[in-house]
Each structure stands twice: as structure tokens, then as C-alpha cells.
Symmetry: C2
Subunit: 207 residues, 2 copies
């Protein structure tokens, strides 16, 4: 089955929908209405119906959407229907939190290796993964890793990004509050915790 | 000056613009073109020009936008032109990373207190802030705190959210991979690290 071209804004909401659908599936729900999903995710029900209309109309009025079908459809569009391997660079507080975070496997993501430059951290185990010397990061090429997570201090972020790209990583989740430069074919998503906190006051006064 | 109603999608991009403008201002740039900002942020230049058109046309063709004016305008719209106080609950790995993160003050945000229930953490200092007993969280009411950051294990997230709301917090940044329920007047932004990583494969195969 071919889908109509899905607009960027809709794609941006898909992971949020997937998260909601997974939460409801895990609770045993087989069907969900756009209203219920809307309440859970804080998105307008009409927006949800419009977004879902782009990838096939498997919702039934008055009955709702099939959660399992939704989950499979969205996973497929997001290319999460096959597994992806990720490596973490930086095993400090943030890196340790990422390792302990869990919830990656539900999206088909595995953190298979962790690296640091600090001899005190190398060799330590974090959630079943042993921290390796960052100088050996090139070795991940053989392990078919396609995702990298940067959780190092800001001054090391670019060097680590370069190393990850050299090692064949195609996507980077960047926690350092700094813009990193990578070749066009590599996709970067940056998480700036301070900026996320800075989003709140607008909505606080609006409500 | 009154602005036209700014669409939600534009508002959602404003913190990203603010971040970019701050980075360029800190480098000493007085003017920036939509093209330059586009390259820095990975947003289309036409999208930037369209978004900026909602809050006054202070860009000059061929010269660009005044970075300081942009910064002030966006800060004002986002209600970041006055300071906001935040508290952190959960001083584990993630909480410690948040405290060490820095970069909050650039948005006018201050983390003024941190709480935990673990006696081993209470009394310890993290980036100049002493971790207090979470049972005393009600005390923040007097300190005019309006933001809360939840960095506790998933099973404690809802209780902490309830405590924060009772203590008068109007906005919550939730790091626990769980939906928390709060009164309508309180705004929640959730950060799900696993979900952010899950966004990458779509763009990797598209590029």
C-alpha cells in the first residue's frame, strides 16, 4: 500500500502518537477514539483525525482506531519496524541517566555500547553495557550501529560528532547545548533542556 | 505594539529561533539573514521569514534581521523577559545532569531549589543548590517558584506532580516516560529521550 505524501508537521507528531498508542496498547486497549488520544497527548482531536487520514482510514466512527494497526502503521512510517542499534558517548551523569532511562526497546532501539574518555569510567558497567575507551569508537563500524547519542561536555561535542560520523552513524541525538556540524546525509536532533524549560512560560500565561 | 495572532506552529519554533539568535548574539553578530539562521537551525529560510512576519517586519532585505531586536521580541512573546524560578525534584543522575547543564540563565530561568527523598542525597550541594527533603516541598510557595522539573523514577512522577501543583507551580518539565495528570491551568512539557531517539530513523532514510 502506498501512502499520500505525509506533511512534515504530521511526521513531527507521529512519535508522540506512537508513544500514546503504545501506552494504551500496554494497558490492553484494542481501540482508541481520537478524543481519548487527544486527552492523553494534549493534541486537538480534529488534528489527530486529519493526521491519521494521511495514512489510510482505518478508524471507524463511534468505535475509534485499532491500536495495534495504528502502532504498526506509525512504526513502519517512522522506520521503527526494524531494529536500530545506538551507541552512547559520555558516561557522566547525563549519559548514566540515558542508560538507566529504559523505554528504548519499545521503539525497537538498543543501546549496544557506551564510550567515555575518563579512565575512571572505562570498564564500569551501566545497565549491562560496559563503558569502553572512546579512542576505540571506530570499532562500532563492524557492529552495524546507525545511531549515536552525544552526552559529553560541550567542548567535546564536535569531536565526538566527527568520530561518530566516521564510524558510520547516520543519526545523532545531541544533548550538548551547542550546534554540531555534520555532513548533510547525517541527521541530528538536539535536545536543549534549558530551551524546553523556556517553552513553559508562554503556555502558562496563555492558560 | 499589538501583534497578529501567532499560529501554534510558529510559537513552537520560537524557542528554537531564540536559541539560534542567542548563539549568534553571543558571537557578536548584530544582524543575521534568514539564510544564515536557516543553516544554523535546519529550518527553511522561507519558513523563518514567514514566522518572523507575524511579529513585525524589522528585517531589511539584503541586510537581515537585527539580532538584539529579534531576541527581545521573541523573549517578550515567550514571556521570558521577566525571570522565572524553577525547582528540581529528583537529584539522581538525570537531576544532577540538569543542575550541571547550565544555560538556563540565558533564558531568564533560575533553578532555586532541589529536592529528593533519599537521605543520602539530602544536604548535598549540586551546582550551588543544596538538596532538600522532598517532604518540605510545600515551602517553595513562599519563594514565588512557578516552574517544576520532574526527574524522579517513573513510579514517583505523579505524586511529585501533585506536590508541585499544590505548591503553586504553573508549569512542569517532565522527564519521566509517563503521562502525568495535572489540573488544566498547569502546563506540562514532557521529554521522552527514547522517543526523541526514535525520531531519527525516519529522517535518516529520507535523506
Amino acid at each position: 500500500m502506498r501512502y499520500r505524501k505525509i506533511p512534515d508537521e504530521t511526521v513531527r507528531r507521529l512519535p508522540t502518537y506512537l508513544r500514546g498508542v503504545l501506552v494504551l496498547s500496554e494497558k490492553g486497549l484494542k481501540r482508541v477514539s481520537s478524543k481519548r488520544l487527544a486527552d492523553l497527548l494534549g493534541i486537538n482531536p480534529w488534528q489527530i483525525r486529519k493526521d491519521f487520514s494521511y495514512f489510510g482510514d482505518f478508524g471507524t466512527p463511534g468505535v475509534g482506531y485499532d491500536t495495534l494497526k495504528l502502532q504498526k502503521r506509525i512504526s513502519k512510517i517512522l522506520r521503527l519496524n526494524s531494529n536500530h542499534k545506538a551507541v552512547l558517548v559520555g558516561a557522566g551523569n547525563l549519559g548514566s541517566a540515558v542508560m538507566a532511562y529504559g523505554g528504548f526497546s519499545r521503539y525497537g532501539l538498543d543501546i549496544v555500547a557506551a564510550f567515555d574518555k575518563d579512565p575512571k569510567k572505562i570498564g564500569k558497567k551501566k545497565n549491562g553495557v560496559t563503558v569502553e575507551d572512546v579512542s576505540k569508537i571506530g570499532g562500532i563500524k563492524k557492529r552495524k550501529v546507525d545511531l549515536g547519542i552525544i552526552a559529553v561536555p560541550v567542548e567535546d561535542a564536535q569531536v565526538v560528532a566527527d568520530d561518530l560520523v566516521k564510524a558510520g552513524v547516520k543519526g545523532i541525538l545531541n544533548f550538548s547545548p551547542r550546534h554540531i556540524t555534520v555532513p548533510k546525509k547525517v541527521k541530528v536532533i538536539s535536545i536543549d533542556i534549558a530551551m524546553d524549560l523556556a517553552r513553559l512560560p508562554y503556555y502558562m500565561s496563555a492558560g
